[in-house]
């Protein structure tokens, strides 16, 4: 079959790779009908994620049709249209049983690598390095889905495939940021980043009852989407002092909940950017945490900060003093998608969450490297470029 493979830092190509096969009784094989670029892929393409190998198939946010089921699969059937959670959860370890699915004990076959890096290993995710399980990704004609009864969800009648696609990753990720960040009625919520993840976090905050939601980015098309489609206020951080603006818009208190949806390649203006770039070049930090720092400073006393952006290693100038003295709660996670996907598909069906506007570009698999050129360089207003392997 054909697939988009990582060939090295900033090098992608469409190549022939072996077809996937059922490797465990609880696997299914999905014929991918749509698979989209995600901000997490940028960290991996840029070489910030260790344990990638040339030839690895990338992609993890996808929908498709079940074409083969293993003998241990109880619920999924050949022919079903499914949206597949980007993280793989076994459904029965303590973490899955406690709805912390991305921390599954049984899905990452290379647990030793991330145990050495982080103390304990997270679960596996499709197409995201051998440290994260080494599973082949979804920018391919077919993909093997382990523990499919738990991670592949039938797309309900009345939900089109393109809308359902984002229930695979960005919608549940955004929802988790607002939900586990503790957003409740009356809150003021600030969201850093207006990519698909940030937009979905902002929408979740609205639906969870926030009184005011403020989304922060620099890209005009994305800020316009946040305003016009998601229905929230915005700040352009390149023209505005974010901290001062947030104080003014919150009666001087600061946001109750701050959701960071930017990640390890955050961009800033002025000396901070130069400092972080120099530090990463000198190998003195692995990640650039500008948005996390800003969120911690801006957050109200006793408020909470949720880190959705992906980080890999260590950062410098982390404002621990602000965190401690202001009594903040800091929380983070890779997405616990299985916890939210059925509820989110319902909300998509009811029109409470719209996702179609995220699709700014669509193309066949052969053109997938172009999808990442558009997405990485934020060209032509790209927010999500959708690859259609079956087209």
């Amino acid at each position: 079959m054909k697939a988009l493979v990582w060939e090295g830092v900033n090098k992608l190509a469409v190549e022939r790779v072996p077809d996937p096969e059922i490797r465990n009784d609880q696997d299914v094989i999905v014929k991918v009908t749509a698979s989209t670029t995600c901000g997490s892929d940028l960290h991996l393409i840029g070489g910030y994620v260790p344990a990638m190998r040339a030839g690895d198939v990338i992609g993890h946010e996808f929908v498709g049709e079940v074409v083969e089921v293993g003998p241990g699969v109880r619920h999924r059937k050949v022919g079903e249209r499914v949206v597949v959670c980007s993280f793989v959860g076994c459904g029965r370890c303590w973490y899955c049983a406690n709805d912390l699915w991305s921390l599954c004990d049984n899905s990452n076959t290379n647990a030793g690598i991330t145990q050495a890096m982080w103390g304990y290993e997270p679960g596996a995710v499709f197409g995201y390095s051998h440290a994260m399980g080494g599973l082949r990704g979804s920018h391919a004609e077919y993909v093997r889905v382990p523990f499919a009864d738990y991670g592949a969800f039938p797309i309900p009648e009345g939900v089109d495939e393109t809308s359902a696609l984002f229930a695979s990753d960005s919608v549940p990720t955004g929802w988790m940021g607002a939900d586990l960040g503790g957003v409740g009625p009356g809150d003021v919520v600030a969201v850093w980043g207006c990519g698909a993840v940030g937009q979905m976090a902002a929408r979740a905050a609205v639906l969870l009852g926030a009184e005011k939601v403020i989304a922060i980015d620099r890209i005009p098309e994305r800020l316009a989407m946040a305003r016009d489609v998601i229905g929230v206020e915005t700040i352009d951080y390149t023209t505005t002092d974010v901290g001062a603006e947030l104080r003014e818009r919150t009666g001087g208190r600061g946001p109750d909940v701050c959701v960071e949806a930017v990640g390890m390649e955050a961009h800033t203006t002025g000396p901070e950017q130069l400092y972080d770039q120099a530090k990463t070049r000198l190998r003195m930090q692995t990640d650039r945490p500008a948005a996390v720092r800003e969120a911690i400073y801006a957050c109200r006393k006793g408020g909470s900060v949720f880190v959705l952006g992906v980080f890999g290693g260590v950062v410098d100038k982390f404002p621990l003093g602000a965190l401690m003295n202001k009594g903040l709660t800091l929380r983070a996670a890779q997405m616990h998608g299985q916890r939210y996907i059925p509820m989110l598909l319902d909300r998509i069906a009811k029109g409470e969450i719209s996702t179609r506007h995220l699709v700014t570009h669509e193309m066949p698999l052969d053109e997938a490297p172009r999808a990442y050129d558009l997405f990485k360089n934020k060209k032509d207003g790209c927010v999500r470029a959708v690859i259609r392997p079956a087209a």
Binding site: P18, M52, R53, C90, N110, Q115, G134
Partner: protein, 151 residues
């Protein structure tokens, strides 16, 4: 930035002390000779009773003592194993796959997964379609990963 450089950057990024800790965690020797290695299984202790133990544990019995204790607060059952003979350890034994602790770790992980899910997840095969020097290093790491890390 080359990938190998990125990995080096990751380690360097940790700073000297952090890197030393990570490296010693990853490849280092044990502080206490022959510790118990242990996992918690999301099951009642009866599921690990002698006689009905899954194959990976039965495989361990000749080389390791096995201890079963209920975990606190409904967290399942703690399953621990300790080698009868400590055998070689340290960076070289670990890199060459001669440290018997690797067998213990794999067996504990497999037994846990079998009890919890009925299967042991297998990686996709082949792991990738290309062979490069950087890839070889990752391959070595993944070949050992099932028996490595911390338990």
């Amino acid at each position: 930035m080359k990938r190998t450089v990125a990995v080096a950057a990751f380690v360097a990024g940790l700073g000297a002390a952090g890197a030393r800790r990570v490296l010693s965690r990853a490849v280092g020797a044990e502080d206490v000779p022959n510790r118990w290695l242990t996992v918690t299984v999301n099951c009642p202790p009866e599921s690990l009773a002698e006689g009905g133990r899954p194959e990976p544990l039965a495989r361990l019995e000749p080389i390791a003592e096995i201890r079963i204790t209920p975990a606190p607060g409904g967290r399942g059952t703690e399953l621990a194993a300790r080698l009868r003979e400590p055998g070689p350890t340290g960076p070289v034994a670990r890199a060459t796959g001669d440290d018997p602790r690797q067998k213990v770790r794999s067996a504990l992980r497999e037994a846990k997964s079998l009890i919890e899910t009925g299967e042991v997840m297998r990686p996709d095969a082949p792991p990738t379609t290309r062979s490069t020097p950087g890839g070889k290093l990752v391959e070595l790491a993944t070949r050992r990963a099932g028996g490595e890390g911390r338990l």
